[in-house]
Symmetry: C2
Subunit: 144 residues, 2 copies
Amino acid sequence: MFSKACEYGIKAAIFIAINSFEGKRVSPKEIAEEINSPQAFTAKILQALARNNIVYSIKGAHGGFELDKKTIGAIKLAQIVKAIDGDSIYNGCGLGLQKCDENHPCPVHDKFKLVRDELKFMLENTSLEELALDIKAGGSFLKT
Amino acid sequence: MFSKACEYGIKAAIFIAINSFEGKRVSPKEIAEEINSPQAFTAKILQALARNNIVYSIKGAHGGFELDKKTIGAIKLAQIVKAIDGDSIYNGCGLGLQKCDENHPCPVHDKFKLVRDELKFMLENTSLEELALDIKAGGSFLKT
DNA sequence: TTTATTTCGGATATTTTTATCCTATTTATA
DNA sequence: TATAAATAGGATAAAAATATCCGAAATAAA
């Protein structure tokens, strides 16, 4: 469904959110340990999230990654997925046709649209805040 | 969402179904042309479908791929997806956690389940027959 | 200003997916 | 039985995704 890069990106963002609520910055090393991902690869993904202004990176000593506590609730999964996997999940044809729309649909166009709309709704209506709070409350986990 | 191999597999199966309704066998060459896919790669996927008894392959002169006209209605997309991409789409965690269930869920477990169940329902309730008939009626297309 | 710490980003390596090529095997038919 | 037409399948290649490495740049603090 999502690429590995995207999975890591979502989990990393959630972990950064958790820590930002407590005013703490985190390093790629900590993040990778906490979400069980390869460190250098995760660092690349964090760069992409930073370039897209989804997370903030502070270089130099005592640096790290953080989020603005006040905007964590406004960040939706859709932004992260789009920043890393692009918008093929929204626009791409389920069977890979280059041109696939109402006027020239692939065989599963309508049926696939239902699924994709559900996914889209989920991504656009799920915030980092709720996911981070759920983890803090012990309701969900980032690894194992 | 699906791998290229799976996209080709679905489209190939639909094309074989269309032709089987007319009692015609088709070759990997014809199939690849009709679904706009690489021929040799498509042939590999057809082998996989044949091994899974989803399509029938007849070797030798006048051979080709065909389907039993009477069972085309019973073949669901789910079988094809499972034969090619396995069942990760059903069982895999949305964020890649090795262990992800009700007792140890990832942060998007419940939300993701809704999407996946919708996809699963769609795959399990869509037959090759209806897709093939829709194409014959000009309601959908296999390429471009 | 120097040093230690930390992200940035280019280069490279590995793995997986996608794609191609060629020969073997099967089969209908002349 | 010989031949032509087809799929089967192993070997290989190319491309994309995943992963690693290392020096450059930035920054806080001594």
